[in-house]
């Protein structure tokens, strides 16, 4: 670059120097001095004033310098003069040479025109010659071309005439591809001249082509051919303008038809999952339905693959078909599990379906079959879980209601026990089975299950929660405690046997104490893989809550049992006390019938209770327990009471009432209404207590004459012995029976009790009579 720039600069400088030397008066001096000299002493400047310069010079310099300067200037002027002369000379020289050159050019151009004319003439002659050659060859060339065209035409005609034969040959060698190519090649000609010159030829070739089409179609439909071949056939057919759509439709139809065959019909489903081992052993002879099904599905998927390759543009239909099959599978599955199905069977079917889906998915990955089936499987599985639970519930209630209590009751004493045991077993066995089943579900390794394992655990937990809740509700409905909404007044509460209520109560206790802990354990052991989602949505399995629910239910049911039992007695007593006119009662002759009925009811209660409830620890000493505390409270209220008595304005003599009060206080108040426990004794005692209390209340509502009172006295006296036998809390019974007597005496116009001997006699008579009655009954049953 530098090397380049330097000459450029040099050149430019030289040019500038040249120019300035040419035009400027003294360029070198100008450039060199301009900077040094000021405007005054710069000779080269345009504004140079000679006079000034002179003045300056004279003022500044001495003579010597002035002289020197003069000399110098004179020399410079001389130099400049010579330079100028040189320049003028040189320029003149150049002018002269230029004039010379122009003169020479003028002389040279002269005579060129003649040469040019000559050249033109020669070229003209060349052209005329070549035209001559061209015209002489033209005819021959045209002839050659014509010949060539004819030859081509002939060759085509030859081809068309050969076409049928060639096609036949192709058919023979099954080279349908070539045949179709030939035919399509000849097609335009045949179309134009087919009706005239090539009629025969055309017909023959069309026949051949028809054969080919037929062959191709058969090839297309034959399953034995390779897919490649079939696809080719389809392509060829398409090339032959054979309506492919109808073919497609036909093929699809065929596929659809085969769908029907592939259905797992609910009724056949169980056959499919029959023991796998048998199919392994005797495969050759008796093909197992599962095997057949698998083959069929494989065939189907192959067909689909073929179809897809043959008609790649119409996959949608295939997707639809495959989806339909999957959907159908799951629908059938739903139908199938509507019946009772074991988890193993369920899984078997599921596995088959899954295999099918996998097979189809391989062929049609775009159809998203696995997603579809995963969704469907979730739904189905959820249903299965729900159904399993509802089946269990059904089982339990079936077991409960299986026995017709009312009929067998008279004959067999153990019905309730049987029911209780059966239903306990049903609950226990049922939950165990459910766990087994669900564990199978969890252990299943089909791809779809692995994904859903968490979900399944959640469902199972939730299922148990719901199951127990609905079971409790059902218990209450069964017991008639709550009327279910679906059957309004379907069965009134009195139709429900009291024993059943008792069984339900005990069953609730059993569930609370045995079943729920077990279920909790099982869930913790096997199904703890709880998914957080399920917990967020709703409460999954909460054993504490369930225990509470069942505890409450058991108490409610037990209370309900006692209520229904006492209700019966209450009705009995109500009738007894409403009917006679107690003020005009006749002298007591015997113990009244209702006592028998009352005792009979109690006996029934005892029987039922004995079957169902456990025996309590014997607690005769309870009386002394409660005595201490009760006396204190009683005495406290006693003082209170007497305070009030004095405060009241009454100054009257102490009434009989007060005396009975005092008597009552001394007799030690007994707690009548204690909490019911799940023991035989407790239930019986509570029932008796409630009945006696009712008796007391009924008595209080009446007014008796002497005989009426005596009747009551007699009845109560008679009741005393058998009641004490059945009831653990003798003190309470004594107290209540006395209360009845007191109440009767208070409501009696003329209290004169029966003499003890008479009382005794009447009671003995009654006892003898009932014994006789029993004997008779026994005899009757024996004889019959």
């Amino acid at each position: 670059m530098a090397a380049e720039a330097a000459p450029m600069d040099e050149k430019a400088k030289r040019m500038r120097d040249l120019l300035s030397s040419f035009y400027a008066p003294d360029p070198s001096i100008t450039t060199s001095n301009s900077s040094i000299n000021a405007s005054f002493d710069n000779i080269n400047s345009t504004s140079f004033d000679a006079d000034q310069y002179m003045d300056l010079m004279i003022k500044k310099s001495n003579l010597e310098v002035l002289l020197q300067r003069h000399v110098q200037m004179a020399a410079e002027i001389k130099n400049l003069d010579t330079d100028l002369q040189m320049l003028v000379y040189e320029n003149y020289n150049k002018f002269i040479s230029a004039t010379d050159t122009i003169k020479r050019m003028k002389s040279n151009i002269f005579g060129m025109e003649g040469n040019m004319d000559q050249l033109l003439q020669k070229i003209m002659s060349v052209q005329s010659r070549s035209d001559g050659v061209n015209t002489s060859l033209f005819e021959k060339r045209e002839h050659i071309e014509k010949l060539h065209r004819t030859r081509n035409l002939l060759r085509k005609v030859q081809f068309i005439y050969d076409l049928p034969a060639r096609l036949q040959k192709c058919i023979k060698s099954e080279a349908y591809g070539d045949a179709v190519r030939f035919y399509t090649g000849a097609m335009p000609i045949l179309k134009v001249y087919g009706d005239t010159s090539f009629q025969d030829c055309r017909r023959a070739s069309e026949e051949a082509i028809e054969i080919i089409i037929k062959n191709l179609q058969t090839k297309l439909f034959s399953d034995s051919e390779s897919i490649q071949a079939r696809a080719e056939a389809a392509v060829l057919l398409k090339q032959l303008d054979v309506p492919v759509d109808s073919l497609k439709a036909k093929l699809l139809e065929k596929l659809e038809q085969s769908l029907d065959g592939l259905q797992i019909k609910p009724e056949e489903a169980s056959k499919l999952v029959e023991h796998d081992d048998s199919s392994n052993d005797t495969e050759s002879n008796d093909q197992h339905p599962a095997k057949i099904h698998e083959d069929a599905v494989r065939g189907f998927s192959e067909a689909m693959r073929a179809y897809r390759e043959i008609f790649p543009d119409s996959e949608e239909r295939l997707f639809k078909l495959a989806r339909a099959l999957t959907a159908m599978h799951f629908e059938n599955m739903e139908l199938y599990i509507r019946k009772r199905v074991s988890a193993a069977d369920f899984l078997g079917i599921f596995r088959i379906i899954w295999e099918d889906v996998v097979l189809m998915d391989e062929v049609l990955p775009e159809a998203a079959l696995s997603d579809l089936s995963a969704e469907a499987a979730q739904v189905t599985l959820k249903q299965f879980v729900a159904r399993t639970f509802s089946h269990l519930q059904q089982d339990i209630s079936d077991t409960l209601l299986k026995f017709d209590i009312n009929q067998k009751e008279a004959v067999e004493g153990e019905v309730l026990k049987v029911i209780l045991e059966a239903s306990q077993k049903a609950v226990l066995q049922g939950t165990t089975n459910i766990f087994q089943d669900f564990r199978q579900l969890l252990d299943e390794n089909a791809g779809i299950f692995i994904k859903m394992r968490d979900l399944i655990s959640g469902w199972i937990q939730k299922g148990f929660q719901d199951f127990f809740r609905s079971l409790e509700a059902q218990f209450l409905v069964l017991s008639g405690k709550t009327s279910s909404s679906n059957d309004i007044e379907g069965k009134s509460s009195d139709k429900i046997h009291a024993g059943l209520i008792l069984v339900l109560a005990q069953l609730s206790v059993f569930i609370e104490q045995k079943v729920i802990p077990r279920v909790t354990e099982e869930i913790a052991a096997s199904f703890s893989g709880g998914n957080s989602q399920a917990f967020e949505n709703g409460p999954a399995f909460i054993p504490g809550e369930l225990c509470r629910v069942f505890h409450a239910a058991s108490e409610k049911l037990l209370q309900h049992y006692i209520d229904t039992r006492t209700q019966k007695v209450s009705v009995l007593l109500r009738k007894r006390f409403k009917t006679p006119n107690w003020v005009k009662h006749k002298e007591p002759r015997e113990v009244h019938m209702y006592v028998d009925m009352f005792l009979h009811e109690l006996e029934e209660v005892g029987k039922e209770v004995k079957q169902v409830l456990p025996q309590g620890t014997f607690r005769k000493h309870k009386r002394t327990d409660s005595n201490g505390s009760n006396t204190t409270t009683s005495s406290r209220s006693n003082t209170l009471h007497s305070d009030k008595m004095t405060r009241s304005n009454s100054q009257r003599a102490r009434s009989q009432l007060f005396e009975t009060h005092l008597a009552k206080l001394f007799k030690q108040k007994v707690e009548i209404f204690t909490k019911v426990e799940f023991t035989q004794e407790s239930v019986v005692t509570t029932t008796v207590k409630l009945c006696l209390k009712s008796l007391q209340e009924y008595v209080r509502l009446q007014t008796f004459n002497r005989s009426g009172f005596q009747q009551i006295q007699l009845d109560i006296q008679f009741l005393k012995a058998p009641l004490k036998e059945t009831v653990e809390d003798e003190a309470a019974i004594d107290f209540l029976l006395d209360e009845v007597i007191v109440a009767a005496s208070e409501r009696c116009l003329d209290v004169i009790p029966l003499e003890p001997p008479i009382l005794d006699k009447l009671i003995q008579a009654k006892l003898a009579k009932s014994k006789e009655h029993n004997n008779n009954n026994n005899n009757n049953t024996v004889s019959s």
Partner: protein
């Protein structure tokens, strides 16, 4: 039980079943109660709560010729009340007036205003018209319903109409609808019957056996509370009589009587033969309770029993809210003990 300590007690000499709030006494909280003694001379006690509310004073003591099975104070005159009594083999009902000035002598005699002697069988109760100023009465025996007009100045009671409920339905008691003075509820063996007094016809009924006592909710129309022997207390909506609106467990033994609080619509008192008085909180607004999700319902199901007063020696039959101080109630047990309690600690926050 702690509940007993707060009560103010008063002892009658004899056994007793009935107590009534003296509604017409606007200056004092008073109650009337009568004894039930077959052989002794029976008494009617007029009790008044002292102004401090700490003492129950006897303002008057009047002898009554027969044992009293039912007693009701008239809503318009504090001196007038009705009784149903029994002589042992026959029943009677009468309107009485407390003599003036009362409370001077210990046992002044009552003035009989009118005798309601249109009955033959066992008389159950006398109901005063709840409107407070009309002199209409209803008396009920086991078969008949009698509608009376009372003229207290002329000492005369006139039968306006009488209707037989039929032999099969033995009536046991009733309540006069405070929202509709033409409607009376009567309890019978198998149902609660509703009578229209204009036509004296039965126009509705709730099929429910053995109902012992009913009471209308004073604050809320259409709500009726019933008590029966076995299955406790039920709240009914009179527009939907098929099923009860709400169920309360009632008492360990029979539930004898129920009373709705005159001021606080949710409060219900019940007395029972298990020697207890129970105070209930029954919202009864849960008409759409069924639509709630069961989980939510169970969470909301708080114990409706607010308190149980158990400091009684015998069955409790008498019960009355004070209409002047609606947080006060009087209860009467069979042994003749009146207990006044305040439910102030349990009042719903407003």
């Amino acid at each position: 039980m702690q509940g007993g300590s707060s009560g103010i007690g008063y002892g009658l000499k004899y056994q007793a079943r009935c107590i009534s709030d003296v509604k017409a006494d606007r200056d004092h909280t008073s109650f009337l109660t009568g004894t039930l003694s077959l052989k002794e001379e029976n008494e009617v006690h007029l009790l008044r709560l002292s102004s401090g509310g700490s003492e129950l004073l006897c303002e008057g003591l009047f002898s009554h010729p027969n044992e009293i099975w039912d007693l009701a104070s008239s809503p318009f005159d504090q001196r007038i009340f009705s009784t149903v009594f029994s002589t042992g083999d026959s029943y009677g009902a009468a309107i009485w007036q407390i003599p003036e000035p009362y409370g001077q002598s210990n046992s002044s005699t009552l003035e009989c205003v009118a005798s309601l002697d249109a009955h033959v069988g066992k008389i159950n109760c006398v109901l005063w018209c709840p409107s407070g100023n009309s002199d209409k009465l209803i008396s009920m025996d086991e078969q008949n319903l009698v509608f009376w007009s009372l003229d207290s100045s002329k000492k005369n009671a006139e039968v306006l109409s009488k209707e037989s409920a039929g032999m099969r339905h033995s009536l046991s008691g009733g309540a006069w609808n405070p929202h509709d003075v033409n409607s009376v509820a009567a309890t019978s063996e198998s149902s609660i019957q509703f009578w229209d007094l204009r036509t004296m016809k039965k126009n509705n009924s709730i099929e429910r056996a053995h109902v012992r006592n009913v009471d209308y909710n004073l604050k809320r129309e259409h709500i009726l509370v019933s008590a029966d022997d076995e299955s406790g207390i039920h709240l009914w909506d009179l527009r939907k009589t098929k099923f009860p609106v709400q169920e309360l467990p009632g008492h360990t033994h029979w539930t004898w009587a129920v009373r709705c609080n005159p001021e606080y619509e949710e409060l219900i008192l019940s007395v029972g033969t298990d020697s207890a008085v129970n105070l209930w909180f029954a919202s009864a607004s849960s008409e759409h309770k069924t639509s709630e999700s069961p989980v939510e319902a169970s969470r909301q199901r708080v114990n409706p029993l607010l308190n149980s007063y158990t400091d009684y020696e015998d069955s409790v039959y008498g019960l009355a809210w004070s209409s002047r101080e609606p947080w006060i109630f009087a209860s009467l047990s069979y042994d003749g003990r009146v207990v006044i309690e305040s439910v102030k600690p349990f009042l719903p926050r407003r």
